[in-house]
Every structure is written in structure tokens, then in C-alpha cells.
């Protein structure tokens, strides 16, 4: 056998030529297939398709469903639809678009925001689809367009419904608003359901219940003339309107909550501890959803979103604050239930607390101390030393386990988008989050709700409801209908071996308001017993990149004022959590706000006769 390492070029040419013939045969076959397919359409299907092309003076147009109306618990309208005229452009028929926009601008005015939104919608639409340009035409604009109809081919003026929020800024974070749908939102959803709709719920209830509120698109078949202009509606499949939605929110209570906050930045959450129905969820400052629905231009939106007061930020749901002394009833209950302390056995408070081998001295808020003090008084007077001692006894991991059962460091699962979860620290948490070991001093700080501990106002209210309900957790919700999406509370009921401890915890909170030395005794003039707890949380620092403004900085170093409460103490109908950013002390700023809300709610529900007030 001879070795032949030389490639055989003739053979190679033969290989390629053979493949060329194979390719040619395949091409011939596929060409015949194409002729076959087109022959099938043009010969076998000719009559049918020809008839359809005759019919093709018929255009199909999507019919936008009416969006469901949102009501508060008394049937007052929070979001409705108002008739309006919308101007749309069909690019394929419109010719030169920039010229058209220029002429429209001269006739009726086209804002930059409208141009931007139009350009964005155009980039993802097909050229034969209608793209909305102006969502709300005035009567004058409609009239001008009607007169100049012939100058604007491809421009359609259509009756439309606009979303309107009669209460304006009130409850704006809860209800949310609808706005023009953007590309990302469209990509996340079934696009077919949004044909003919230009809007989508952006935040709040409008977003969370988007699928229920939206409804289903209808179709209209319209006969057109040779230029495509509509002549007559031939038939229509009507759209299915969106479902109306009833909320548990009481808009009057909501307005009160917003009024008591006034010019402060802060949040108020009020809920019914029996079923978790949210009665008010205020975050101040708010914003005007009507302006956002009509579409702000980029500059105005930027101004709104960069405002240092953060009006778009839902503090009740997303603001995370150190809970401060709010944690004391929970920790006291935990310590007693787990046997670290005897609630009746007093501790001597001299105003300072020290750890062996640690130089630092922890001080009480009251420099001279509280003297001999038991659990109930430690809550009522908010004694820090008692809780430093308890924290040292329990250790951070036991505190973490117990506080988690009360919902600290957990989300509540409310039916609103974007809820943030607080932090209840532990050794494991710190190792994972910061990669550092835990120090004993941090345990002591955690005993008074400072250090790493963070909670949202909503979560503080939900936790307070667990004490009000003697262990039964609730899932806060805003939709009143029975089929609220997930209705089961997050977390198990808190079971105590000694049921009497619940009464001690409640009594200690009643003592806060009604005790002679209670930190919130100033609000005790009411007709019923309020159980509450004040909190004054230190603001740890201020970010370096914030604007340097002496007044603002000074003000933003003030403590946050907190108060949680429920009433009437022994048959609770309302739980309130108040957080006032830089409000100073909980007892002076936050507690009176809560009292006003409780007062209004109990009086109004009593007028409706479903509550026999528990007189003092």
C-alpha cells in the first residue's frame, strides 16, 4: 500500500459538484412547493379569498373596555371614568409625521410629553395601527379639528374615557394612577389584551388589581370607503367592562389621617384588627394622580420624583424606620412568655446600664432613672434600662425568634404592589447581610428597637393587631370583596402557655395612655380606653450626597416620632400606627394624631350603631 498524503483535488471538486446538484434539486422542489402554495391560494381558494377582498372595505377596530370603578367602604367613588376625546394618528395614512405633528401643534398644541409618549408608542406599533397622541381634547380642540378634518389624513378623533380621581391628592398612594403603557409593561403582559388600550395601572390598587379593573377588549367591524374613511358600523362584539372594586378604605378617615400629618413627612396606617381591613393608609406628602394620568412631561415628572420630600414614595408601605420603643410591649411579652423575666418582679432603674468588660454606658431617656419598676410600668414609662437588662438576658437570637412571630422583619402581604420588608436582626442576618459577627452591645440597642431593627408603618400596625387580637395575626387588605387575593395571614398565631400574659401586655399599653405616669397620658381624655405605645427613634445619620441646606439638615436630624395603638382596649375595632419623620417625640407629636383618628373612627362607627362604646 502506498502512502498518499496529497489531497485529491479532482475528488474534492467532484464532492462539491455533487452537492451542488443535490442543492439544485432541493431548490427546484421547494420552488415547486411555493408555486403549489400560491396556486392553491389563487386557484383553489380564489373564490373565497376574492369574496373576502370584496368584503375588505371592512376594517376591524378594537373597542376599549370601561375600567372598573373604585369605591371606598361607604360607596364613595375614588376612581371613575369621564368621557373625553382622544386624538390618534395612523402613521401609514398620515404621511410625513414630523410635518403632521408640527401642523397639529400649530392648530391645537402638542406638548413635549405627548411627543415623547407618541414616539415611544410608535416604535413598538405597526404602521397601520392607531397611536394615541393627545388623551384629552378640549371642546375647542375637537371643534378646530372637525373644521380642518381634510387637512389631516390619518388623524382620528375618538370618544374615550379618562380616568378621574375625585379626591385628588387624597389616598393617592393607595389608589395609584393609570398612565400610558410602556414597552416593558407591554412585554410582561399578553399584548393582545392591550390592543386599543393605551393605559395601564401604574401604582397602588390600579396596578395591583389591573387584571380585574381592565376588562376585555371588544371588536367593531366598520365599513370604509375607498380611502379608508369610516362609513358605517356593521357589527360589534362589545367589550367586557372591568370589574368594579370596593375598598375597605374610608376616605373620610383617610383625609383625617392626612390632615393630622399636615406638613410633616410621615405615614399613618389604620386597620380593623378583626379582619385586617385597611381603613386608612396615608403617606405624606402625596401627589395629584390626575396630573400623572394626563401625562406629565419629563421635566415635571423629574421634578416630582427628585423632590427631597419624596411625594411619590409610599412611606406607609415602603418607608423603613427604626421602631424604637414601639417594640417594648412585644419584647416584654416575649421575655415573660419565655421565662426570662417575671412580669411582677420589679427591677431597679438608676438611669444607667453597663456590661461587664464593656466601657460604654447605656443611659435611660430619663437621666435620674425610674427607680423600682415592673413590666407594666416599664412599658408605660418606656423605661430603657428594663429593656437593656431584658435584652441581655434573652440574647439576640431569642429576641429575633420571638419578634419574628409578631411579624417584625416580615412582610404583611397587603394587596398593594411594592411592599418592603423590615429587618429584625440576628446573628445569621448580620453574617449574611454585612459579613460581620454580632456584638453584645448591638443586642442591648436592639432591646429598645434601635440598631439594625427596621419596620414599615404598615408592619407596625399589623404587629400591634396581634396583641389586640391576643395572638391572632391578620393579613392587611384593601379590597373589600370576599375573594381578596391571598387572604391567609403570613405567619402562625402566637400561642402562649400563660394566656394571662396577653392581658398584662394590653394593660401595660393601656397604662401608657391612661396611667398617671404614662408617656401618652396627654391624650387620655377620651371616652374609651386606648392601648398604645409611644416611640422616639433616633435618626442615625444623613447621607452625604444630600443637598446641603442648613434648615433641612437640622430638621432632618430630629428624631422620628412614633405611636401605635388600638381601641377600645378590650374589644378592639381599630389599630393605628403613626410615624412622623423628624417629628420629635412620640408622645408629643404622634400620639395626639393617633388619638384624633381613633376618636373619629369610633364615633362614626358608633353612629352607624355597630359598636357599644366601652365607657371609662
Amino acid at each position: 500500500m502506498s502512502l498518499n498524503l496529497l489531497p485529491d483535488r479532482t475528488g474534492e471538486r467532484r464532492v462539491v459538484r455533487a452537492r451542488l446538484w443535490i442543492a439544485a434539486s432541493m431548490i427546484a422542489l421547494l420552488m415547486i412547493a411555493l408555486v403549489g402554495r400560491i396556486g392553491y391560494l389563487q386557484v383553489a381558494q380564489y373564490e373565497q379569498l376574492s369574496a373576502r377582498s370584496q368584503d375588505n372595505r371592512i376594517r376591524m377596530a378594537p373597542l376599549t373596555p370601561t375600567r372598573g370603578i373604585i369605591y371606598d367602604r361607604q360607596g364613595r367613588i375614588l376612581a371613575e371614568n369621564r368621557p373625553a376625546f382622544r386624538l390618534s394618528v395612523i402613521p401609514e395614512q398620515a404621511g410625513d409625521l414630523s410635518d403632521l405633528l408640527g401642523r397639529l401643534d400649530a392648530l391645537i398644541g402638542v406638548s413635549d410629553a405627548e411627543r415623547e409618549a407618541f414616539a415611544e408608542a410608535q416604535s413598538r406599533s405597526r404602521r397601520f395601527q392607531e397611536i394615541p397622541l393627545k388623551l384629552q381634547l378640549t371642546d375647542q380642540q375637537v371643534a378646530r379639528l372637525a373644521v380642518n378634518r381634510h387637512r389631516f389624513p390619518g388623524v382620528e378623533v375618538r370618544p374615550d374615557l379618562n380616568r378621574y380621581y375625585p379626591y385628588g391628592n387624597s389616598a393617592s398612594h393607595v389608589i395609584g394612577y393609570v398612565g400610558r403603557i410602556n414597552e416593558q409593561e407591554l412585554r410582561e403582559r399578553d399584548q393582545r389584551r392591550y390592543r386599543g388600550t393605551s393605559r395601564i395601572g401604574k401604582t397602588g390598587i390600579e396596578r395591583f388589581y389591573e387584571d380585574r379593573l381592565r376588562g376585555e377588549m371588544g371588536l367593531e367591524r366598520i365599513e370604509t370607503n375607498a380611502l379608508g374613511r369610516s362609513l358605517e358600523v356593521i357589527d360589534r362584539v362589545p367589550p367586557t367592562p372591568g370589574e368594579d372594586l370596593h375598598l375597605t378604605l374610608d376616605i373620610h378617615l383617610q383625609q383625617t389621617a392626612e390632615n393630622v400629618l399636615g406638613d410633616y413627612r410621615g405615614a399613618v396606617v389604620a386597620l380593623d384588627p378583626r379582619d385586617g381591613a385597611v381603613l386608612a393608609l396615608a403617606s405624606q406628602p402625596g401627589f395629584d394622580p390626575n396630573a400623572l394620568t394626563q401625562g406629565l412631561d419629563r421635566a415635571a415628572f423629574q421634578q416630582l420624583s427628585e423632590d427631597t420630600r419624596q411625594p411619590l414614595f409610599n412611606r406607609a408601605l415602603r418607608g423603613r424606620y427604626p421602631p424604637g420603643s414601639i417594640v417594648k410591649p412585644f419584647l416584654g411579652l416575649s421575655g415573660a412568655a419565655a421565662g426570662y423575666i417575671n412580669p411582677n418582679e420589679p427591677l431597679y432603674c438608676n438611669g444607667t446600664f453597663e456590661l461587664p468588660d464593656v466601657e460604654r454606658v447605656w443611659r435611660d431617656w430619663r437621666p435620674e432613672g425610674h427607680g423600682r419598676i415592673d413590666l407594666i410600668q416599664a412599658v408605660a414609662q418606656s423605661c430603657d434600662i428594663y429593656y437593656y437588662d431584658l435584652a441581655e438576658r434573652m440574647g439576640i437570637d431569642a429576641m429575633h425568634d420571638w419578634m419574628s412571630r409578631f411579624g417584625f422583619g416580615r412582610s404583611t402581604g397587603v394587596d398593594l404592589p411594592g411592599e418592603r420588608t423590615g429587618i429584625m436582626p440576628s446573628r445569621d442576618w448580620k453574617r449574611e447581610a454585612l459579613g460581620e459577627p454580632w456584638y453584645l452591645g448591638e443586642t442591648i440597642n436592639t432591646g429598645i428597637g434601635q440598631g439594625f431593627t427596621l419596620a414599615t408603618p404598615l408592619q407596625m400596625a399589623a404587629s400591634t393587631a396581634i396583641i389586640a387580637n391576643r395572638g391572632r395575626p391578620i393579613r392587611p387588605h384593601l379590597a373589600a370583596s370576599a375573594d381578596v387575593e391571598p387572604s391567609k395571614p403570613i405567619g402562625e398565631s402566637v400561642m402562649l402557655k400563660n394566656e394571662r400574659l396577653w392581658q398584662i401586655a394590653i394593660d401595660s399599653m393601656v397604662e401608657v395612655v391612661h396611667g398617671v405616669r404614662g408617656t401618652a397620658r396627654a391624650i387620655a381624655s377620651s371616652d374609651y380606653k386606648i392601648a398604645g405605645k409611644t416611640g422616639t427613634a433616633q435618626v442615625i445619620g444623613i447621607a452625604q450626597d444630600e443637598d446641603y441646606d442648613e434648615d433641612i439638615i437640622a430638621e432632618r436630624f430630629h428624631d422620628h416620632a412614633l405611636f401605635t395603638a388600638f381601641a377600645p382596649a378590650n374589644s378592639p375595632r381599630i389599630v393605628v400606627a403613626v410615624v412622623v419623620e423628624n417629628g420629635g417625640s412620640g408622645s408629643q407629636t404622634a400620639a395626639p394624631m393617633a388619638a384624633e383618628i381613633i376618636e373619629q373612627w369610633l364615633k362614626s362607627t358608633n353612629e352607624h350603631g355597630d359598636l357599644a362604646l366601652e365607657k371609662r
Partner: protein
């Protein structure tokens, strides 16, 4: 003509005088191909005139672009294949770098990054890759013996996958598939073993469900679903398919006559100057017109395959064949899509659709074919 027996790998192609007459020898133009392409372009303008509703100005634009395309064709035809072969790795690397650049710096339009903006002109690197990839595959194959060994074939598959996936993530799945097809076509012509072909086909079949779940954007899934049942979304993706089939079918055997297509003029055919121009043509000229057009395409493809058949070295042979097959795939995919045989892929009808970049690329490809054909030499006697 002497029997071509090349004794070894290092042997040069024949160095005798060139074939053909003046046109071939001086201008490096294949008269047959040029005439066919010119005829096609002329038909294209007639159809476009109707599709634009008897407007002349876009036709003038179109004519300018055709001029640019044919000019580029003449320039490229002068580059001899051996020089083209030497340039190939550089052209391919450049195209690859530009594809990466487009992902980083590219202009976003319609949710995809496809364009590089060079001030005066926008440029789609994927267009360059449509030529660079078959060149690269032919170059690798021509450097070894044919049919390619298993290892070399695997390397080539990777070379194909790189640009295809870069284009796929833009995302431009249609172009990614076509670029991939151009590479695979060359591999096929090089005598890729049938067992290897079977293996790849079954692997691809197995990968399809994965592509469906992980590789596709939602709109792409919608397109496939709508292809299977256009009536499920009659106002959206299904609209094009339904309306273009009505247009084609209502044309019948003889057509409605030039400028008389109601579907086209009532603006029921979307994108009727670009991707769906075939529907306009089928409506107005009927089955007879369609057959004539397909015959013209077939003749161009046949001539291109013949050029591959007659080419004198492996690089030219494989590249010419690959370009011919790719041209066919473009025709088939566009007409198949417009007539409802294939799902909607945004792809123009070669040399007829209005629009610049794809047409210029195609004509450049034909320039390469002409270069291959007109640089052949007779064997010195």
C-alpha cells in the same frame, strides 16, 4: 479545455488567459447574471410604483439605492478571488467586532440594537456578516481537504454560532437564522457527512423546546403561535398574514392588473412596500406573474450555481455555491412567509422590496460571484 488535475494542495489555479469577451475580461461582469439582475430590479420598480400608490419620488430613491448597489457590485467584481480569500479572516474579525460593538454602543430602534451610527450613515453589522460568514466558512474549508473532517466541521459550527448568537441577542432572530443558514449552506456544499447532518438536525430538533422557553422573546412566541393560527390575533400579528393571503388569493390566475390591486390600494396590506411587496405583485399580476417571477429567481439561482460549478478552486466554489443557496433561502423565506407557508420573519423580497441595506448586501454578493466567474483562467497549453 484541459482536464483540471491539481497535483497538490499548494498548486495554484491555472494561470492562462481569461475566459470570455470584453465585458468579462475588462469589467469583470457576467453578462447573463447582470441582465437577469437588471430585469429583476426593473420589475421591482414597476411593482413598487403601484405599491406606493403611483408615487414617483420613492421610486427615485429606490433607483439611487440600486445605483449604489450595482456600483458596489462592479467594484467587488474586480477583486480577484485569491485576494478575497486572503482578506477573509480580517473581514470576518471586523464583522465580529462590529457585532459586539453594536451590542455595546448600538442605536436602539424598535426594542432591538441593530444599528451603528457613523454620523452620515447608519450601518447594520449583521448585513456585513451575511457575506463575511460564508466567506469565513469557505476559507476554513478550503484550507483543508474535502470533505471536512469531524473536528474541522465542529470548529466551523462554532464559527457559525458566534455571529448567529450575537445577532440573535440584538434581538434579531430572523437575521440570526439566515446568517447561520449561509454558513451551514457552505458546510453542506463541502460534503458534510449525512450522518453529521442527521446528528445536527436531531440536536436542533431537541433544542427547539429550549429555544421556545428560554431563547425567545414573548413577541417572537406570539409570531409563531399566530403563524399556526392567524385568526387568534386578527388585529395584531395575524393581520399581516390574513390580509396578504387575501391579496394573493384574490389575484387569481391573471391578476387584477397593474395599479388595480384593491387590497394594496385600500391599504389593507401592511408593509406593502417592504416585506409584503410580494402580496402586491401577486394581487396585480396573478399566478402567471408569480410563476414568471419565480422563474426569474430560479434562473438567477441556476446561473449562480453554475458559477460555483465552474469555479476553479475550493474557496471560490464553496463561496459561490453558498451565496447562491443563501439567495434562494431569502426568496423562499420571504415568499413562504407572505403566502402563509412560514412564520412571519422580517425579511425583504430580494431586489424588489423598498429599502437599502439588504439590497446592497445582496448586490455585493453577486459582485463576488461575478469576480469568481470572470477571474477564471484557461490552462496554459
Amino acid at each position: 479545455m484541459n482536464m483540471a488535475i491539481w497535483p497538490s494542495k499548494s498548486a495554484n489555479p491555472p494561470s492562462g488567459p481569461r475566459y470570455g469577451g470584453w465585458l468579462q475580461r475588462s469589467l469583470h461582469v457576467d453578462g447573463v447574471l447582470l441582465a437577469l439582475l437588471g430585469l429583476l430590479a426593473a420589475i421591482g420598480m414597476v411593482v413598487l410604483y403601484s405599491a406606493f400608490g403611483s408615487r414617483m419620488d420613492p421610486i427615485q430613491d429606490h433607483l439611487v439605492r440600486l445605483g449604489v448597489g450595482f456600483g458596489l457590485l462592479l467594484v467587488v467584481a474586480r477583486i480577484p478571488p485569491w485576494r478575497l480569500s486572503r482578506l477573509t479572516p480580517w473581514v470576518f474579525s471586523l464583522a465580529l467586532i462590529l457585532l459586539i460593538a453594536v451590542l455595546v454602543f448600538g442605536q436602539v430602534s424598535g426594542g432591538a440594537r441593530r444599528w451603528l451610527d457613523f454620523g452620515i450613515i447608519g450601518f447594520q453589522p449583521s448585513e456585513l456578516m451575511k457575506l463575511a460568514l460564508p466567506m469565513m466558512v469557505a476559507w476554513i474549508l478550503a484550507n483543508g481537504s474535502l470533505p471536512a473532517r469531524f473536528g474541522r466541521s465542529l470548529v466551523i459550527l462554532i464559527v457559525i454560532a458566534m455571529p448567529a448568537s450575537l445577532i440573535g441577542v440584538q434581538p434579531d432572530l430572523g437575521t440570526a437564522l439566515l446568517v447561520g443558514v449561509a454558513g451551514v449552506a457552505v458546510l453542506f456544499l463541502a460534503g458534510l457527512g449525512w450522518r453529521f447532518i442527521a446528528l445536527i438536525t436531531s440536536l436542533l430538533a431537541a433544542a427547539l423546546p429550549l429555544l421556545w422557553i428560554f431563547g425567545m422573546q414573548d413577541y417572537q412566541r406570539q409570531r409563531v403561535l399566530t403563524f399556526l393560527d392567524p385568526e387568534r390575533d386578527p388585529l395584531g400579528a395575524g393581520y399581516n398574514i390574513i390580509q396578504s393571503q387575501i391579496a394573493i388569493g384574490s389575484g387569481g390566475v391573471f391578476g387584477k392588473g397593474w395599479l388595480n390591486g384593491t387590497q394594496a390600494h385600500l391599504e389593507f396590506i401592511p408593509e406593502r412596500h417592504t416585506d409584503f411587496v410580494f402580496a402586491v405583485m401577486a394581487e396585480e399580476f396573478g399566478l402567471l406573474g408569480v410563476i414568471a417571477l419565480l422563474m426569474l429567481y430560479s434562473t438567477i439561482i441556476a446561473r449562480s450555481l453554475w458559477i460555483a460549478h465552474e469555479a476553479q478552486d475550493n474557496f471560490s466554489r464553496l463561496l459561490a455555491g453558498g451565496l447562491a443557496l443563501t439567495f434562494f433561502v431569502y426568496c423562499f423565506v420571504n415568499i413562504g412567509m407572505v403566502s402563509g407557508l412560514l412564520p412571519v420573519v422580517g425579511l425583504p423580497l430580494p431586489l424588489i422590496s423598498y429599502g437599502g441595506s439588504a439590497m446592497v448586501t445582496l448586490l455585493t454578493g453577486f459582485g463576488i460571484l461575478m469576480s469568481i466567474h470572470t477571474h477564471r483562467r484557461m490552462w496554459p497549453s
